[in-house]
């Protein structure tokens, strides 16, 4: 898409601006839809219907109405807040999660920036979210918010390690940090997904499969924690910390936090899908392949994991801080190391 | 133990500190004790092997009128499964009672409530504050001579 646009417009800067806006075309409608979906999913899991009135069919316009409400709301800043940090925090959080979309390939034809260190970039840039959350917690000048922020920082930093190690498994197999390359490596159908050992020979697949499977699960669990979703939602644990770091936010700034959370949910789902489930490649080889179908496959795989995240949220209780740390340091990290080691041995042999 | 046995035992141990006792003709048999002796009586009631009243069901303040306040202790024994009511009368002029919260920990909040509502002070209470009403509330509303103030902190009290 990039060369095409360049040829069409003849201007690099406009091209990059347009390229940067493309994911937004997906993220914003997606967030509106995902909020609605979350309400419907939770409602149907809980034996009720959820929003049914706004817009007619199954309350499809509910989130749009909510956003309109949030835009009109007064922006309340606590008198004792650190005004600058309080103002900046939601933007930093959203930028952090949106920037991750830059190197995620939506299809064979579109990736915001085909960096050769794409994965590394994602890991780095998504840490920006922590900074935003800390700013929000500190800037609100509210003890509960501060608790949420501190918890969040501890949690996200702890879970970066198993995440990065699990990502490393895919990187070792493909030998590339570019997400486009990793996706192409898995082209050719379901059997080539890294989840099932990648396009190796049959005995090799069986040797690899336990490691890739485990690292995929580690990646998914850790990404739940990185997006602050239940059962790891302790930074915004409603029953403990009121609303955690965004207690003192209202109106549009609150909406930005919300948008960032949902964008993040999709980002981590997309990364999991790209690394282990073949990204935009068709699960049936060349059947239904190609760039247009690629978008479809990529989005469906991502949305599937978004749905799983919702499903977990409405099923499980919340962990406690120490248990959360225990899982990260004593369960996920050692297992992730074992996976890296196992795959490493395989590759050496 | 029957209430009669309990009162007899109390009389034997406490002597003339037992002011009054009524077993028959009342819904709940009770013993009335001199206010100063309540802590001794409480310890006796709890520690005596045959009585062993380890469960303070209820502690209520009462305004008996004519300048007399009262505290009523409803006791139960989890081991022996018997009950007794202990009452004390205190003059409103000098409403001090020894606290029994060291004997039954559950008396803590009940005593604070009785203080809040009736204004008797429980000497030796670990945390002698009002509990239900605001710290600065004037007076003790469950006393029969209590008049609802017209203003509270400058706000008019309705009706």
């Amino acid at each position: 898409m990039e060369p095409l646009l360049k040829g069409l417009l003849g201007n690099d800067i406009i091209t990059y601006v347009i390229m940067a806006f493309v994911p937004l075309l997906w993220v914003v409608p997606y967030a509106l839809f995902a909020v609605w979906l979350e309400r419907k999913v939770s409602a149907h899991m809980q034996d009720r219907l959820g929003p049914m009135r706004v817009g007619g069919w199954h309350g499809w316009a509910q989130t749009i109405a909510d956003i309109l409400k949030l835009i009109q709301k007064e922006d309340i800043v606590p008198a004792a807040a650190d005004k600058k940090l309080h103002f900046l925090a939601p933007f930093v959080v959203f930028i952090g999660s949106y920037a991750a979309f830059a190197t995620i390939p939506f299809s064979s034809a579109y990736v915001g920036s085909n960096l050769n260190i794409g994965l590394f970039y994602i890991v780095a840039v998504s840490s920006l979210v922590v900074v935003g959350i800390l700013m929000a917690g500190w800037g609100s000048n509210n003890k509960w918010s501060l608790f949420g922020a501190i918890r969040s920082a501890a949690q996200i930093i702890s879970y970066e390690i198993p995440t990065a190690l699990a990502l490393l498994v895919a990187v070792m197999l493909t030998g590339s940090l570019s997400l486009q390359e990793i996706t192409k490596y898995q082209d050719g159908g379901m059997q080539n997904w890294i989840l099932f050992g990648g396009p190796a020979s049959l005995p090799g697949k069986f040797l690899l499969m336990p490691f890739t499977f485990v690292s995929f699960i580690i990646l998914f669990v850790a990404s739940l924690a990185e997006t602050n979703r239940t059962p790891f939602d302790i930074p915004e644990a409603e029953s403990e910390l009121v609303a955690g770091y965004h207690t003192e936010y209202s109106g549009m700034k609150f909406a930005l936090f919300f948008l960032a959370e949902y964008a993040n949910m999709f980002a981590v789902s997309a990364i999991a899908a790209t690394l282990f489930l073949g990204g935009w490649t068709s699960p049936f080889g060349s059947f239904l392949g190609g760039p247009i179908w690629g978008v479809f496959w990529f989005l469906s795989k991502g949305m599937f994991f978004v749905f799983v995240q919702m499903w977990l949220r409405w099923t499980l209780p919340r962990m406690r801080v120490d248990q959360l740390m225990y899982i990260s340091w004593k369960v996920l990290t050692p297992w992730a190391f074992a996976c890296v080691l196992g795959v490493g041995f395989y590759l050496v042999m | 133990m029957t209430p009669l046995e309990i009162t007899d035992r109390l009389k034997a141990k406490l002597g003339d500190k037992v002011v009054d006792a009524k077993i028959d003709g009342v819904p709940d048999p009770f013993v009335k004790i001199a206010p100063g002796a309540i802590l001794d009586a409480a310890l006796l009631l709890r520690n005596d092997a045959e009585m062993e009243f380890d469960f303070l069901m209820c502690l209520s303040g009462v305004d008996n009128g004519k300048g007399i306040l009262g505290v009523v202790y409803h006791l139960y024994s989890m081991t022996n499964r018997h009950k007794i009511t202990v009452k004390i009368d205190i003059p409103v002029a000098e409403p001090a009672v020894p606290s029994v919260s060291s004997v039954w920990a559950g008396a803590d909040w009940h005593e604070r409530e009785a203080f809040d509502m009736f204004g008797m002070t429980f000497t030796g209470h670990p945390d002698h504050r009002r509990i239900l009403l605001p710290e600065d509330y004037p007076g003790h509303p469950l006393r029969k001579d209590f008049k609802v103030p017209e203003f509270y902190q400058g706000m008019k009290v309705p009706y």
Binding site: W314, P317 | S60, H74
Partner: protein
């Protein structure tokens, strides 16, 4: 955990890094204090060093109101509002005390109706307690499942007396209306419908690994502390004391039914932890169903209004009567001076007494545990503050 306080950290230049405890306010407006309870908590990081509960935000002068009524009957609507999620039990407790003062016997049918209502109410109340407990530890879904079933009980109540929350149904000497036609069948159908659902709740929440991790060994209330603080109800039984007033100090006709008293056994942790208290409530619902089914099968025909006195003037005297509400021992101490209005009414509310033990069992736990502990005490602020 207090290492930082006893051995302060030093910077590279030898300066001491200041670390101190933080005081935070939980409530009166907080999602998990179940009303307007305020907890002043002293924390060292995430560790709770001390808890000071402040109650009284919902004080409505119940006792003062009782003294200024024109007769005994008028107190009952106020009793409804004490424990507003178990109003039937509150009404019944007050009526028991008044009936003891008046020394009247209520008809057989009334006894049965009262037992049926009280047990239905107990299930409804426990459903709220367990559901909101799920909310406290972060599980949202069980809450709505339980509300779905509670709704059916409220429908039964609505059918009986027209109200869904504050019933004013049990009167001194009787009940306000006889059961409507078809009630017994509907109640039986409810029992049949509800019994399998308890298993569903267990599958969904009780034996969930995370739920057990969050509640086992948390907020352990030892037996002797529970008795010293006069805790009652599931709080006491969760600590392993088999004490239920319906069994051990029977009132009304509870001695006619066959059922057992569930106690905490420390199945997944220590005896007296939050999970035990939770589980006692869960099992009590089954026992209540047992009582209900027997009562519905045995209920005789008869008159319900014959014993309602026209004019209530008890002799001078006082009576303390206790009964088992879903939260524990609800006692009413009524002093009569021989006139038509109560001279003094004291409600010994179980939640008030149970709450007073929380500082004792919260120390040293984490903030998340504090929420779990307060939830497991199952307080209703209407009753704590009266």
């Amino acid at each position: 955990m207090n290492d930082l306080l006893t051995h302060p950290l030093k910077t590279s230049t030898g300066r001491t890094i200041r670390s101190e405890e933080m005081i935070i306010n939980m409530g009166p407006q907080h999602p998990s204090t179940h009303g307007v309870l305020r907890l002043e908590i002293v924390v060292d990081g995430e560790i709770v060093v001390d808890v000071i509960p402040h109650v009284g935000y919902l004080h409505r002068c119940f006792e003062k109101h009782c003294e200024s009524m024109t007769n005994y009957q008028q107190v009952i609507p106020y009793c409804d509002r004490l424990d507003y999620i178990a109003s039937m039990n509150m009404d019944w407790a007050y009526c028991l005390a008044a009936e003891k003062l008046l020394a009247i016997q209520v008809p057989e049918r009334v006894q049965y109706i009262r037992v049926i209502m009280a047990e239905l109410q107990r299930i409804a109340s426990h459903l709220i307690a367990l559901g909101t407990y799920g909310l406290d530890v972060g599980a949202f879904t069980p809450f709505l499942f339980m509300f779905r079933d509670r709704e059916r009980i409220l429908d039964l109540f609505e059918m009986t007396c027209g109200a869904r929350l504050l019933y004013n149904y049990i009167w001194i000497g009787g009940v306000s209306h006889d059961l409507p036609p078809g009630f017994v069948d509907k109640a039986k159908a409810f029992c049949k419908y509800f019994r399998p659902n308890i298993k569903e709740f267990n599958d969904l929440l009780t034996y969930n690994e995370i739920f057990i991790k969050r509640t086992a060994n948390v907020g352990v209330l030892p037996k002797d502390v529970a008795i010293a603080y006069a805790c009652s109800g599931p709080m006491l039984r969760g600590s392993g004391v088999s004490f239920d007033l319906r069994k051990d100090d029977p009132y009304s006709i509870y001695d006619r039914f066959e059922w057992s008293v569930p106690v905490g056994k420390g199945e997944v942790g220590t005896i007296g932890d939050c999970w035990d208290r939770y589980m006692v409530r869960m099992r009590e619902m089954t026992e209540s169903l047992n009582i209900l089914e027997q009562a519905l099968a045995q209920i005789p025909d008869g008159d319900v209004a014959s014993a309602i006195p026209k004019r209530i003037r008890p002799n001078a005297g006082d009576a303390y009567v206790r009964s088992e509400s879903p939260r524990g021992e609800i006692g009413f101490y009524i002093v009569s001076d021989g006139s038509g209005t109560p001279y003094r009414v004291k409600a010994r509310s179980p939640a008030f007494v149970n709450l007073s033990v929380t500082p004792e069992i919260c120390r040293g736990s984490m903030i998340a545990d504090l929420v779990a502990i307060v939830g497991s005490v199952d307080i209703v602020l209407g009753e704590v503050d009266r």
